[in-house]
């Protein structure tokens, strides 16, 4: 592995996401590793998950995730391990606790509010009497009544 790294440095080219030598032999574990990787931030990159990133640090993290999985950790334990080490900044899917509840509830709550406001508006329009251009003046109403009578 060191030789590959050296070669890569010599050629001044970056490593790129998931290298063949990282892939685990157990397809189930590998699947879990990939799944976890897409939810973990590459800490030195601009806005990429470690699954997509070319940075050496992302590779280290990918290897770390696989190490933990092989050691028998559950997905949750792997995440806890990484959060302990790197802080919750590493999680692309923020945890729903504390102030983050605002973030998680923003969608449902604002949808509820919008539906209530929208429904109230629609109900008001359904009950409202026509006004303005659509409404008839007394003269017009009288004429209409007359026309309808005839």
């Amino acid at each position: 592995m060191i030789r590959i790294l050296l070669l890569a440095v010599m050629l001044a080219t970056p490593l790129w996401a998931v290298q063949p030598d990282e892939v685990l032999d157990d397809p189930v574990l590998e699947e879990r590793a990939r799944e976890l990787s897409t939810g973990l931030r590459c800490l030195v990159c601009r806005n990429e998950s470690i699954d997509e990133s070319n940075a050496p640090l992302a590779r280290d993290l990918r290897l770390l995730v696989r190490e933990r999985l092989v050691a028998g950790d559950t997905d949750e334990e792997v995440l806890d391990f990484l959060v302990d080490r790197y802080g919750e900044y590493v999680l692309l899917n923020p945890r729903a606790d504390g102030v983050n509840l605002i973030l998680w509830l923003a969608g449902p709550v604002s949808l509820l509010a919008a539906v209530v406001i929208g429904a109230a508006y629609v109900r008001r329009r359904a009950k409202a009497a026509p006004t303005g251009a659509a409404a008839l003046t007394d003269d017009e109403q009288a004429r209409l009544d007359k026309l309808l009578r005839d």
């Binding site: 070669l7 063949p20 601009r46 692309l92 605002i102 998680w104 969608g107 026509p130």
Partner: protein, 657 residues
Amino acid sequence: MVTELGHFAVILAFAVALVQMIVPFAGAHTNRKSWMAVAEPAATIQFLLLAFSFAALTVAFVTSDFSLRLVVINSHTSKPMLYKITGVWGNHEGSMLLWVLILALFGALAAWFGGNLPDRLRARVLSVQAAIGVAFLAFLIFTSNPFLRMAIPPLNGQDLNPLLQDPGLAFHPPFLYVGYVGLSMSFSFAVAALIEGRVDAAWGRWVRPWTLLAWTNLTVGIALGSWWAYYELGWGGFWFWDPVENASFMPWLIAAALLHSAIVVEKREALKSWTILLAILAFGFSLIGAFIVRSGVLTSVHAFANDPERGVYLLAITAIFMGGALTLYAARATSLEAKGVFGLVSRESALVANNVLLAVSCFVVFVGTIWPLVAEMTTGRKLSVGPPFFDMAFTPFMILLAIILPIGAVLPWKRGNLGKAIRPMRGALFLAVAVAALVWTLQTGRSAMAPIGALLGVWLVAGALTEVWMRAGRGDLGSKLRRMRNLPRADWGKAVSHAGVGVTFWGVAAMLAWEIEDIRVALPGESYQVGNYEVTLQDVRRVPGPNYVSTMAVMEARRNGELVATLTPERRIYPVAEMPTTEAAIDNGVLRDLYFVIGDPQANGGWAVRTYIKPYANWIWAGAILMALGGTLSLSDRRTRVAGGARRSPAAAVPAE
């Protein structure tokens, strides 16, 4: 010399914009026709001046004038001509010049085609448009001047960021900017209407074509950006929920809502104050987008200019325009009373539901985008909000939208009957369920994503077709077809756009659900199996390019022994910018893309290769093209043009008191 003239033209345009902002506004207020009449020539002159200065900057890039700082930083003599030209807007300063040019273009268009507007409204619209121009021209001149000279010009430039040297990315900013900046027109109309205190059906007609134009271009711009990410970033992702992507997506969502609510204003004189609010917010999100992209407060893969000083200035522009417009809105919105009456089940209600879903989904994207910033400032928690959150929080809204869309599209105005509206859609519904069931049985033991995508995709497309079929009326096939041909283009535009949404839904779902990925080390000459394809790495060689050196692999894909495609993925190194890029090789197909990437050389003489089979990938962008095509069709409708050209006397419009 030309450069100095260009520089001078920008400053002159700033002066003209100042005049255009003040004089017509005062004229409209004091009812002086001659003052109001200043607006149109001023708008034209402002546009011509900025067009000249943009041309001057382009000349500097094309002739590689390295006495200009901007050219030195972003160009190089060996760069292909195409990228010398697109390099003009491939940087912060040049793109700001393009931004103000498009802003002036929209002002000029409103002056040229606004003959039907009441004089006072037109004067106010152009004045507000000029105010935006003043703010951005000042920003350009004082913080991001593209015409600065070098004291000692170097012999050659530092080259454009290699990632930007690509046709997909080179052409997406102009589209995006026409979209962002086009929304300024809706904003100007909204503010002018608030000052007038009058919003009526005519206003809805005037504002809709501008929004449609902006939205259509925004659609194309976003699609091009996503397509670029797909083939350039080397693993085939097409959407990252990156702050910069969200910055373009939020105005798109609000503009889509605005398009629909403006119809209600036009046809039914309801939803007025909401539509005004959307028009203000749509441009507000454009401004916030500019702030996000150019200030660097949120890290992103796309952002090119990170300068806190500029960020502060842009934040100030956003605060002034949004603060001012929303204050005006708060003061005046209550006077905008709705007239139309409609029942609980009606087209109006369906469009309200559409607006609720689009606006809330935009709000969710907004909260997710700024949350890391807010959380860190308020609680000190440093956290990330990434794709897993957005996928989960955003997708439900789109699913709901897709479910109600075909029904809402055929509900009658005023008062409808749900049963009656659904009846003709039974065929579409049946087809959608049948296809989804088929997909479900074909793929055993995988996620529900593909069947749901199939259900919604078919439902939307078949629903749109059913609507056109219904609109063609009764009678035999011949008369139906004839009537279909004679349907207004706006009706076709609606059907095509809505079908486009369905096509994109299916593309996204199928690609995410069925993608096959293979990562391995292959020796030259080695073959391996991926899905139904036998892939051979034939050769890897070094190839020189115009301003880069490439490592190019030759790979063959065979199916049942027959050669399907020979692809040449590359890794390029741009020596001047000292940056490597990955050039994936893609065999595009209707049903699947073959996506090959070549990686690092390995110790055993082999190469790391990645092979992807991406089913229905192109449907994602085909759907976006359909949406944009629908927008264009609708824009070309005679009624839209008549709306632009019909002379309505101001007296015909009823004050909204």
